[in-house]
């Protein structure tokens, strides 16, 4: 180890990272860069752009549901086919091109090398390749909106035979393009994931032991492993589905001995761990934010870690709770009900740990903290309603109703929207070297969280009234078109429009602060983790002197110390 660190010091002083890269052209600095921070920002901005597309789609189809048959301002009439394409691509985009790139790729790229105290990912060129494949996948998906026949409309779960045969889905080009885009996206995240895992395993700062790694780094690494272990069968399934679509094989075609339910198994064997793939980084963000803004040590670091391992393992044995009405054996339904109820235990434990961390802390209600607290409250509702869907008895009634839809939005919106905003407000000073505006941050917070509840609580009520999910005009079903139910739809839609409008203050705050915000110091929140010891924003190579680690990451308000924080790299 001794000669390793001396060679590090040597190569660092030799190369002169900081000066060397000033001269690079715009293209090599921002487009073809191998710097982990630039690649992280590329993922972040691509994800934000895709979120705008996904947000516009939800606006169009919610307006159609609230005011069926009327032209939607800015979109026009929503036909049945267009409605299907909108909901399908809204789901696909929000999960694969917003949640995944922002939570795993953007944060993982930006934070892992900074938080473990090194200068870059271990494979910077593979990292760049990962983003380029991701960008290509986004372009393929966007291109599919404009091909003859229109984009794919067979739901984000793409169940065959609807997804496999053009005579059913009527999108001979859109459907295969959708599959290709999703498969490319998987390849991008496999490459990125290998980088995250190997970097964290091998490139940690001197002295950083297993229990000194910040929780969010653990979470991103475990999420990458979960993704890697679960996506393989679906990769195979995607190849089979693509062949069914384009080469007329019959892997999933029941007419010729294929089994459509097999796809459901492949999809959900990935699809359910995927929920935890995006949840874990969000949990990591919340751990970082609440410890800093409660000025308190994380209540039980090892418990969080072990519950995460438990969640990861159990998540591979719950998938068939999506298929209780797909004709699976009722005895199987019992098994999967039990495993599904089991997985709520470690997740609940994690939430309790966070609440215990807050207890007795000196809480500062800064914008990131507000979002982190909102995550705990809102995700709790999502988790508790999940119990009803994991139990096969209630799920058979709720299956494919708006109850399911409201449930998973109560999990995914806290994960991909609320926790991500906590992360953006928290790490913005490190990313861009400037502070975001607190007042507009709080306006954005209340304008996001209150309307969010007004969207989905009515949808829970609609679901319990038996409203099926995949109907584009409820006027065709007189018992679902009553004024009471229609009013709930209108409330949800109005709340959605308000929530979307409140993203404008965020975007303005984001871009104005990036150039005109108050200059941030290196450690504006007085946090312990290593990224705050680098300058804001960190230069190429990150650290002037590579930090050494002397203690765990959450030593806040340690008795007997003058300061209420104790950075990981400070010797005494």
């Amino acid at each position: 180890m001794a000669n390793l660190s001396s060679s590090e010091a040597l190569s660092h002083s030799d190369s002169g990272h900081d000066t060397h890269h000033e001269k690079m052209s715009f293209w090599s600095k921002y487009v073809f860069s191998t710097d982990h921070k630039v690649i992280g920002m590329q993922y972040l901005f691509t994800g934000m752009f895709m979120a705008l597309i996904g947000g516009f789609m939800v606006y169009a189809f919610r307006m159609q549901l609230a005011f069926p048959g009327e032209a939607v301002p800015g979109f026009g009439n929503v036909s049945a086919g267009a409605y299907n394409a909108l909901v399908t691509n809204h789901g696909t985009i929000m999960i694969f091109w917003v949640a995944m790139p922002v939570l795993i790729a953007a944060l993982g790229n930006f934070l892992i090398p900074l938080m473990i105290g090194c200068d870059d990912m271990v494979f910077p060129k593979i990292n760049r390749l990962s983003y380029q494949i991701f960008l290509l996948s986004a372009l393929v998906l966007i291109a599919s909106f404009f091909v003859p026949g229109g984009p794919f409309g067979g739901a984000w779960t793409a169940y065959p035979p609807l997804s496999a045969q053009a005579k059913f889905n009527l999108t001979p080009l859109g459907a295969p393009m959708w599959v290709i885009a999703v498969a490319l996206e998987f390849v991008a995240f496999l490459l990125g994931g290998i980088n995250f895992i190997t970097t964290t395993m091998n490139a940690r700062a001197k002295g950083m032991k297993m229990y000194d790694i910040p929780i969010i780094v653990w979470m991103i690494v475990i999420a990458s492993i979960l993704f890697m272990a679960s996506v393989g069968p679906l990769m195979a399934g995607a190849i089979m589905l693509l062949f069914d679509q384009t080469l007329s094989t019959n892997f999933f075609n029941p007419e010729y001995g294929g089994d459509p339910v097999l796809w459901q198994h492949l999809f959900w064997f990935f699809g359910h761990p995927e929920v935890y793939v995006v949840l874990l980084p969000a949990m990591g963000i919340v751990a970082e934010v609440i410890t800093v803004f409660a000025r308190k040590k994380l209540f039980a670091y090892k418990t969080v870690l072990y519950t995460t391992f438990a969640t990861g393992v159990i998540s591979f044995f719950v998938w068939a709770h999506h298929q209780f009405i797909s004709g699976i054996d009722p005895r199987m339904a019992n098994v999967f009900t039990i495993t599904t109820l089991l997985i709520s235990v470690p997740i609940a434990e994690m939430l309790f740990v966070y609440i215990a961390t807050l207890y007795g802390g000196s809480i500062q209600f800064k914008t990131p903290m507000l979002f982190a607290l909102a995550f705990l409250a809102e995700f709790l509702i999502g988790g508790v309603t999940g119990i009803h869907l994991g139990a096969s008895g209630t799920d058979i009634y709720f299956h494919d109703t708006y109850f399911v839809l409201a449930h998973f939005h109560y999990t995914f919106v806290p994960i991909a929207i609320i926790a991500v905003f906590a992360a953006i407000y928290y790490w913005f000073p490190k990313m861009f070297g400037r502070m975001m505006n607190e007042f507009w941050g709080k306006v954005h917070f209340w304008g996001t969280v209150i309307p969010f509840n007004f969207i989905f609580i009515p949808l829970f009520m609609l679901g319990m009234a038996g409203q099926h999910r995949r109907i584009y005009n409820y006027n065709h079903f007189p018992d679902l078109a009553t004024p009471e139910l229609q009013n709930l739809r209108i409330i949800a839609t109005v709340a959605l429009v308000i929530m979307l409008l409140f993203q404008i203050p965020f975007l303005v705050n984001f871009f104005v602060s990036m150039f005109k915000g108050k200059k941030a110091e290196a450690n504006p929140w007085k946090a312990n983790t290593l990224e705050w010891t680098a300058p804001s924003p960190p230069p190429h190579g990150n650290f002037k002197v590579f930090p050494e680690v002397y203690r765990p990451p959450y030593e806040y308000s340690v008795p007997g110390r003058k300061e209420d924080y104790w950075p990981q790299d400070s010797k005494d």
């Binding site: 990912m121 910077p124 970097t199 399934g237 062949f243």
Partner: protein, 192 residues
């Protein structure tokens, strides 16, 4: 364009070189891809008795010969690794190309098999058995080709005395490709 290797790449908190670690993770992700495909095949195979008739139509002799070829090529890649360890770049280069040669023979036999199957009327869409046969062996063949290309690139680097540790990494990958075939051969050729 920055061509510097970051300091991170040279670190090794686990004691395992980063490149080797990454190869193992690549293999982990590949195992589940092939595992998913093979699991699908098995689920169908147990359900459809008539597939054993199709399995009888695959060329077991050609498959056995190819198994031998791949196993021999795996021996060569081990010899290449040994040569690289004693810094014998000439020998390492030679054995890497013998391995690539094994890959070539494998692909030629594979091409012969495909041709004769198609001429007998067993095409990609004849039955799901044949769809699986072509998909699984095709995906495996694609991995063989990828391994050969990477090995060729590494071999020229090795001849100049650079990056000798990569011989071991590509060797691990080649063994994996070999191992996948060890699963495919009995499933598609032997079991009737």
């Amino acid at each position: 364009m920055s061509s510097q290797v970051p300091i991170a790449t040279g670190r090794s908190s686990t004691g395992i070189p980063t490149g080797k670690l990454a190869v193992w993770w690549v293999i982990a992700s590949e195992i589940v891809i092939f595992g998913g495909l093979i699991a699908c095949y098995l689920l169908y195979r147990f359900r459809f008795d008539h597939w054993s008739g199709f399995a009888g139509k695959t060329d077991t002799l050609a498959g056995a010969f190819n198994t031998l070829v791949l196993l021999t090529s795996s021996l060569f890649v081990v010899l290449a690794h040994q040569a690289a360890q004693r810094k014998d770049t000439k020998d390492a280069f030679k054995y890497l190309w013998l391995t690539i040669g094994g890959g070539f023979i494998f692909l030629i036999v594979k091409a012969y098999e495909y041709t004769s199957k198609i001429l007998h009327g067993y095409t990609f869409t004849t039955d799901n058995f044949w769809s699986f046969y072509y998909t699984a062996t095709g995906l495996h063949g694609f991995h063989v080709v990828a391994g050969m290309v990477i090995m060729a690139i590494i071999s020229f680097d090795v001849r100049k005395g650079n990056n000798l540790h990569r011989v071991e990494n590509i060797g691990i990958y080649w063994h994996f490709v070999d191992l996948v075939w060890i699963f495919l051969f009995p499933l598609l050729y032997i079991a009737k």
